[in-house]
Structures are given as C-alpha cells and as structure tokens.
Subunit: 156 residues, 2 copies
DNA sequence: ACTTTATTGTTCAGCATTGAACATTTTTAT
DNA sequence: ATAAAAATGTTCAATGCTGAACAATAAAGT
C-alpha cells in the first residue's frame, strides 16, 4: 500500500487485467449460451476441439492442454463416450494410456460447435482491428510464459 | 467452414482469443495459490475487494458487479459472515435488501489479499510495457461492451 | 384501495472442478 | 533381477456456480 498508487484499482496494470478477466468471463457466458442448443457446455467444447485437432491424444496430454486436472477428464470423458461422441481405446504399447478420438457424429457435432464458436469470437472482436488483436496476442504470450514458469513457486 | 480460413485455429482473431483465455485461466490458478495462505479463494477475494470499494452495497448489486447469479452470493456471503469478515444489515427503507460491509478483520484481510493480488499482477505483466497494457485494456473495453449488449439475444 | 408485476434474497438439485488417495503399469536405480 | 520411483487413469468428498422455484417486500397499474 506504500506503492506509487494508493489503491489497486488506480494501478494501470491492475485495471488492464480486470478488463481482461471481465471480458473472459462474459465471453464464457456468451459461449455457454451460444452452444446450449447443441447440448454441450464449454468444457465439452474444449475437449472436442482438442480431439479434433489432436487425434489419438491421451487423457493426460488432453488435461495438460486444457490446464485442468486428470480427474476432471476422468469425469467428463465417459459422458462424451456414452453419448457416442468420442472413443477411448487402450494404447498398444503402454497399457496405462487411453487414446482418445472423435467418432463420426462427434466430428459432426464438433464442426457445428466450432462454427458457432468462431462466429461468436468473430462478432465479438469485430471492433478490434487485426493488428490490435495481434498486439493483444503478443501480450498474452508473455503473460502465459511468465505464469507457466512461476507455477511451482509462488513467492519470491 | 467456407470462410477464408480452413480451421478456427488458423484464424487470427480466434488465436488471439485463445491466448486471452489461457492467460486468464493461468492467472486465476496462480492467484488461487497465491492467496491460499489467507484461507480464501478467488471468489471470496472478488467479494472482499468489491466490499472494500463499495461499502454498503446490496447482494444484488454485488452479484451484478461480479457477473454471477444472486444465488451464488447467497451461498458465499454467509460463509464470510460466519468467519467475521463481513456484516449483513437490513436496509432501513427497503426490507428486502441486505447491505454489506467489511468488519475490521475483514478489512485487514482484504488489504493483505489486495497486496498479494497486486503483486502477482505486477510481476506477471512486468514484461508488458504500460502503453501495451493500455492498448489491451482498450481492446477489452470494446469486447466487454459488445458482449454486454448482445447478452439477451445470442443469434442474429 | 386492490390487484398485478417486479425485485431481493434463499433454497435446492445438478453439474464442473479440484486435490488426495488409490491401483495398475512403466521406468529408473541399485 | 529386484526394489524404488514415476506416470496414467479412477474414485471420492468438498466446493463453486447455475437456474428454477419460492417467500417476502415494493412498485406499478387499474
């Protein structure tokens, strides 16, 4: 509190980050509504898109990409499997690993969902010129890098 | 899919937004670890900060600021009240409303938490120059505005 | 005045997420 | 070869968040 700013919200970086967090929260809520017709929520969408992109990925790798715990995948994937959207097949060499892939209907659903998702992002960022988007992306890259390297130790 | 890009992840705005979402997720996790010593989590922190800033706010107003449902506040606030961090007093004129305020120990805890939070944000955004932060903030303002005006109707 | 509508907060069932403990299998150390 | 350590997926209790239904109060319409 003996910083150059009296309160956090007077701090420029703090204010910037609050904006990022709010935008994320609102986007997530809008996305949830946008894909509700397909009877999936954003966690499922994230899974489906990553399976679309990385066919044969393991649950562990998927969890890492999504920045969630393994147990989360153990809860969600069986649901998608029961709905016939994905398949889980044991790896040939390593008997611990389950390899994931989309079924035909899973791929179909994923493409519909991606179209909706892309459309929403497109509409939402339409006011933001492409070079500004690129600047934002660069800033986020830096932030992501710092956060990932500081993960285990949180204090100086 | 008959857009200019074949896949969403080849789309510049899409990629930008993925970066924003990842950064947010990582920041939230880092923040959760950073304030774990104070025995609160990010939802509590958000509440405390808003009570610090807007003393006497109602539960409804608080929920609106945090972009969450009223029921969420009805679950979390009694916890903080039991811990002696906040007080809920009925409004004098409108008997429906509960007005919220921090107790002394609530204010103390909030100041500690804010110091940690500001420090983490400071460290994380240290690589990002202030003018770049400002550009990000502007972009987020636009995005927030669009998302808030599109809230009720999600389709064209 | 009286009825209808809206607002505020609560409760509840449902689901996502986590972290810890566990079993199985693989890898590494000795 | 054998033991120790690590990796993968599962289960479970705890918690956050939501939306719907509800009670109490206030505001608006008649």
């Amino acid at each position: 509190m003996n910083e150059n700013q009296a309160f956090p919200w007077d701090h420029p970086r703090f204010r910037s980050w609050i904006g990022v967090a709010r935008a994320c929260q609102l986007m997530q809520q809008a996305m949830t509504r946008a894909i509700a017709d397909l009877d999936i929520k954003t966690p499922h969408l994230d899974i489906l898109i990553n399976l679309y992109r990385f066919d044969g990925i393991s649950q562990q790798e998927l969890a890492r990409k999504l920045l969630v715990g393994r147990s989360n995948m153990s809860m969600l994937l069986p649901q998608l499997e029961k709905r016939g959207l994905i398949e889980r097949r044991p790896d040939g060499k390593d008997k611990r690993i389950l390899r994931l892939s989309l079924t035909k209907s899973g791929r179909d659903l994923t493409m519909q969902a991606m179209a909706i998702q892309t459309g929403l992002i497109e509409r939402t960022l339409s006011q933001t010129p492409e070079d500004r988007c690129l600047q934002v992306a660069e800033a986020m890259e830096d932030i992501i890098h710092i956060l990932q390297t500081m993960e285990p130790a949180e204090e100086a």
